[in-house]
């Protein structure tokens, strides 16, 4: 039940926040904070003391034992007539992503704390419902349920961009909505086809993930169904050429929206590929792998170049996110132990580093009311703490060993080298261009001269603590990634990744 609680608390907290606005604009954020803190407490408990929650009991693990170690698995009927049921489960992989979601939810809340002043009730409602939707996506194991949550996380995010966004928010929100919706419809179609073919061969109508695994589709259909899933997830990830919603959404979204988008929503795409696309269609996916890996490499190099040319700092960071997600795509489709573990590490580390970078960019915009880097410069002298944090997270994003992003990218490349040397060679060039676009940000914003004589407050204590937490996370991932690798390994094995000793 604890998984349901995680979502119920957020859903209820959202409604509570919306209602609390009538008592004053300050109240909703307190309600939201309470809800997220309760969730965070539960998640931490799940991570460090699963026994105390009675998780992973013999019965549940045994029930679906062949599908890996589910720490918790909940099954209940929903619409039995159509074979739709409530199945929620977390294994190591899902649990880490849920934890990432809740933790970055707290960070998003922190960045909205002083920034969002209008319609606060509805804002925190949307924020919490997005988070609940994401947790649903990471835990749902019924394809109908999964699709339901896929939509749940989309619509509140649309509102966050469209209402609290910046100068071009309606265009950005609409673009985000259309891209996600069109690709989501493809996935719905693919789900229905999969269920139909499963029904026609076994006479069992079900959306249950475990039952659908191993469904044999006619060869000509299977590739198309797989592509339906792939396009939806590749749009979310995003990968070139489906990435164009992201720069607009990011640059227009309020800081909290960007944090959730970059830190968490993108990871649902990667998660979908890992959990659904490849395991449901292993043969088709492997045949498709060279195309997908090429897309990943193109994403890495192409968006790195576009990023380099940007003068809008949030747009630049948005493009770099696409570039980093390219490594995830390469890693997943290389499909061996190192590469997939690398993809998971990149998901987590990028969640931290991108969230921090968007918080910094948002913080800058909040302070000086511009995102145009050509107007900035010399901020090291004005706000040294902020500058230091920016330097740290930029360096993390460049892939400095000792920090999480390096572990991810290194393992991805180490693994993909076994599969495709040429593509890995190109992907490795990504580390060079990453340096090019990252260091230009430091130069334009923090080095050089403060041409326009901006003055600004340096980091507040709350901000500093937020960044410090993200920093500790990245150092942990970089120095002792084994914590995460150990959690992910059983999940990945059950998804079909071989771990030769």
């Amino acid at each position: 039940m604890i998984l349901v609680w995680l979502m119920v608390i957020l859903f209820a907290g959202g409604i509570g926040a919306a209602l609390a606005e009538s008592r004053g604009a300050e109240h909703p954020r307190a309600v939201a904070l309470t809800a997220i803190l309760i969730d965070l407490f539960l998640v931490i408990l799940m991570l460090v003391a699963p026994d105390s929650l009675g998780l992973g009991t013999a019965s549940t693990v045994a029930q679906l034992g062949q599908h890996g170690d589910w720490l918790v698995l909940l099954k209940a009927e929903w619409i039995p007539r159509f074979g739709v049921s409530f199945i929620f489960g977390v294994d190591g992989l899902s649990l880490m992503l849920v934890a990432l979601t809740v933790f970055l939810g707290l960070m998003a809340l922190g960045s909205a704390w002083g920034e969002v002043k209008e319609r606060t009730g509805f804002f925190y409602f949307n924020l919490l419902w997005t988070l609940a939707g994401v947790i649903g996506v990471f835990t749902a194991l019924d394809l109908f349920l999964f699709f339901f949550f896929w939509e749940v996380m989309l619509i509140p995010m649309y509102f966050i961009i469209a209402i609290w966004g910046h100068e071009n928010k309606h265009y950005a929100a609409m673009k985000f909505f259309i891209f996600t919706q069109v690709s989501g419809l493809l996935m719905l179609l693919a789900i229905l086809m999969l269920v139909y073919f499963h029904y026609s061969t076994t006479n069992v109508l079900t959306f249950n993930y475990f039952q659908l695994l191993g469904t044999k589709l006619p060869a000509n259909v299977a590739t198309w169904v797989m592509l339906g899933f792939f396009v939806a997830f590749a749009t979310k990830l995003p990968a070139v050429p489906f990435h164009n919603w992201l720069p607009d959404a990011h640059s227009q979204a309020p800081t909290a929206g960007s944090v959730i988008l970059a830190g968490v929503l993108l990871k649902t795409g990667a998660y979908g590929l890992l959990r659904f696309t490849v395991p449901l269609f292993p043969d088709e996916s492997m045949a498709f792998a060279p195309v997908a890996m090429t897309m990943g490499v193109v994403s890495i190099l192409y968006t790195a170049m576009v990023a380099f040319a940007q003068s809008d700092i949030k747009r630049l960071i948005a493009y770099t996110s696409v570039s980093h997600m390219g490594f995830v795509l390469v890693g997943i489709y290389a499909w061996n132990a190192q590469a997939v573990q690398g993809a998971v590490m990149t998901m987590l580390a990028h969640g931290f580093s991108a969230a921090a970078l968007f918080m910094l960019a948002g913080g800058l915009q909040h302070r000086i009311h511009t995102r145009d880097m050509d107007k900035m410069g010399g901020f090291w002298g004005v706000a040294p703490k902020l500058a230091f944090m920016a330097l740290f997270f930029t360096i993390a994003a460049v892939g400095m060993p000792g920090l999480g992003n390096f572990i991810g990218e290194f393992l991805v490349l180490l693994g993909s080298f076994k599969v495709n040397i040429l593509l890995t060679g190109f992907a490795t060039m990504g580390v060079v261009v990453a340096a090019v676009y990252s260091l230009i940000v430091i130069q334009k914003v923090f080095h050089g001269k403060n041409k326009n004589n901006y003055t600004m407050a340096d980091l507040s204590a709350v901000e500093f603590i937020c960044y410090a937490l993200l920093m500790i996370g990245l150092v942990w991932m970089g120095m002792y990634p084994q914590t995460m690798l150990n959690m992910a390994q059983p999940s990945l094995q059950s998804l079909g990744v071989a771990f030769p000793g």
Binding site: A337, Q338, G425, V436
Partner: protein, 614 residues
């Protein structure tokens, strides 16, 4: 004490953390004590551990700290590995590093970012120690990237000048090109031998890679890729272009990072993986050829520079060329030996140059100096000591190491003779450009006033370095158990005479030209062929020019051209098309009954005629 080995990189790291997180609150004295003291403490521990290690007579000592990562068959540990080579490196890094840190407390006096400077310096030392103490190539790579980062941070330390930022970025990006190559080398090595542990990988490669056929191909590929990383870090052809620009950083940085330690990491890498290079003799010879060409190129370029630090920078490139040459002919221990003596005299030269620059109120142009031996007697004598060691006059530290290298080149059976010729030509060039610098700065007519900067923390380290530069050649480095024994042959007397004579000839020419004025250099560099040659040498054979046009301009241009992401216009095109179609269709909704009637009848007629005629 050996068990405390882990403290050697950890203490500078702690120094970095303290200085970073107290930023702005610590005044100069405590910041300096933490900054330099942490390196001093690390040196003491390194010394005690090193003495114990040498007495233990073991070939190596390893210390397992924790498992970094273990994914499937890939394992990498946070393990330290100390043998003769890493011991020498550790001593250089902490010892020379400590002296430079002490000097820097004087040099950076009154800088508003004093603490930040020492924070980066401490981080650099920690990273460099990890580089040389790591037992696997991934840990080495971590240090490798870490020193690159610190190099970037310190070159651009005075960040308000955009030029410094440009130089810093250039250094980082150019070396990253090499790093990418090195990373691919690691991938290939792991794929073929299943481990990145340096000793294991070398033994497996030795046992499994046949010397002919596929195995030799593997060895060639791996060593070539690693060489890419080495030439990037050590500023050898074709990736040497970043080092002269790196001189934008404060001078202690140039001494520590861009002369004594980081730039020699490529030499260390190749020496560390020497068994792999021995399996690929062609690549090993290529290392020597690269060194030979680089040492000549940099020698010629040094001759044309007017910035005191750039002359020294090209001289560093040139001296590292000698180390590569040594690696190429299998004189592994001579390469490390020269690495050490070079660290002594080049650190001395850079720091003395720093004192000269301070004494001349931040003037770096040697043509605005001259006749300074009266005003700056300390600097003069110290610089002269550094210069004679660089030129390798008999008895100085540089002589011992360079003579070993040239002797080994001569003894090398295949193609060694050509490398030797390049090496002695370079020795002549070294004499010429070094004493050109010395004469131009300290002799001739005095044009500008200078004053001696004094202080125990400025002079003390310089004197110690001068002693090392003079006498360091008598140190025996304990690398006998690491590298295969090379039978040392005394070169014939004629060759020895040439090796000693040519640098002196270079000095003589420098004296005639730059003191006596036998040749008018301005006229020579102003006329047709002379000007062309001067420009060719001055611009490092036009390589910056070439790289700008082949890589930088096209990339930047293409990026700017595509700033709005052409893929976006496809989607916007679809959106526009939808709008246009929408407009067309909505235009038909006029609300006029006769129009609807007309279209309806036309439609019916059309359908009927289709039905009739088909």
């Amino acid at each position: 004490m050996l068990d405390l080995l882990w403290l050697v990189p950890t203490i500078p790291l702690i120094g970095f953390l303290i200085l970073t997180f107290t930023q702005g609150k610590l005044s100069e004295v405590p910041a300096g004590i933490i900054g330099a003291g942490s390196i001093g403490l690390a040196f003491v521990i390194a010394l005690l551990a090193g003495i114990q290690f040498i007495h233990s007579d073991a070939p190596f000592f390893s210390q397992h700290l924790w498992t970094w990562m273990s994914v499937g068959s890939f394992k990498a540990g946070f393990n330290l590995y100390l043998d003769g080579v890493s011991l020498v490196m550790m001593f250089i890094i902490t010892g020379i590093g400590f002296l430079i840190h002490v000097y820097a407390t004087g040099y950076m006096h009154d800088d508003p970012s004093f603490a930040r400077f020492f924070a980066y310096m401490n981080l650099f030392v920690a990273a460099m120690l990890i580089l040389v103490l790591g037992d696997n190539l991934l840990l080495l790579f971590m240090g490798w990237e870490g020193v690159g980062l610190c190099s970037y941070l310190l070159i651009g330390f005075w960040y308000t000048d955009p030029y410094n930022g440009y130089c810093a970025r250039k250094a980082f990006v150019v070396t990253r090109v090499g790093d990418a190559s090195m990373a691919l080398g690691l991938f290939l090595l792991f794929q073929s031998v299943g481990t990145l542990n340096i000793q294991d990988a070398m033994h497996i490669a030795q046992a499994q890679w046949p010397t002919a056929g596929g195995g030799a191909g593997l060895a060639t590929a791996v060593t070539l890729l690693l060489l890419g990383g080495a030439v990037g870090k050590s500023a050898q052809l074709p990736l040497q272009t970043w080092l002269p620009d790196a001189m934008a950083g404060p001078t202690p940085i140039s001494a520590l990072i861009h002369a004594a330690t980081m730039v020699t990491a490529g030499v260390y890498l190749i020496a560390r993986t020497h068994i792999l290079y021995m399996l690929a003799p062609d690549v090993q010879y290529l290392v020597g050829v690269i060194g030979c060409i680089t040492l000549l190129m940099a020698g010629f370029t040094a001759l044309t520079q007017s910035d005191i630090k750039k002359v020294l920078a090209f001289s560093t490139v040139s001296q590292i060329g000698y180390m590569f040459l040594a690696l190429g002919v299998g004189a592994w221990n001579s390469a490390i030996f020269h690495l050490m003596t070079h660290a002594f005299f080049k650190a001395l030269l850079f720091l003395t140059a720093g004192s000269v620059i301070l004494g001349m109120h931040h003037e770096q142009n040697i043509f605005k100096m001259g006749g300074l031996r009266k005003d700056l007697p300390w600097c003069h004598w110290l610089f002269l000591i550094g210069t004679v060691a660089l030129v390798a006059l008999p008895g100085t530290s540089g002589y011992f190491s360079k003579e070993e290298i040239l002797g080994a080149a001569l003894a090398h059976h295949e193609g060694g003779y050509i490398l030797w010729l390049g090496g002695i030509a370079g020795a002549f060039m070294t004499g010429l450009y070094s004493f050109r610098l010395y004469f131009l700065v300290f002799w001739g007519k005095k044009t500008h006033d200078g004053h001696e900067v004094m202080g125990w923390n400025l002079q003390g380290p310089l004197v110690l370095l001068a002693v090392l530069a003079l006498l360091g050649g008598y140190i025996t480095i304990p690398v006998g158990k690491v590298f295969p024994m090379v039978a040392e042959e005394e070169p014939a007397l004629m060759y020895r005479a040439i090796m000693i004579g040519l640098p002196i000839l270079g000095i003589l020419v420098a004296w005639l030209v730059f003191v006596k004025g036998v040749i008018d250099t301005k006229k020579l560099a102003g006329s047709g062929l002379g000007a062309a040659l001067h420009r060719f040498w001055f611009t490092q054979w036009g390589m910056d020019w070439l790289y700008d046009r082949v890589f930088v301009f096209p990339y930047v241009g293409l990026a700017r051209l595509n700033k709005s992401d052409f893929i976006d216009s496809i989607y916007n095109g679809i959106a526009k098309l939808t709008l246009v179609l929408h407009g067309l269709v909505s235009d038909t909704q006029t609300g006029q009954l006769r129009w609807y009637a007309l279209t309806m009848i036309s439609g019916v007629l059309l359908l009927v005629s289709i039905g009739v005629f088909l």
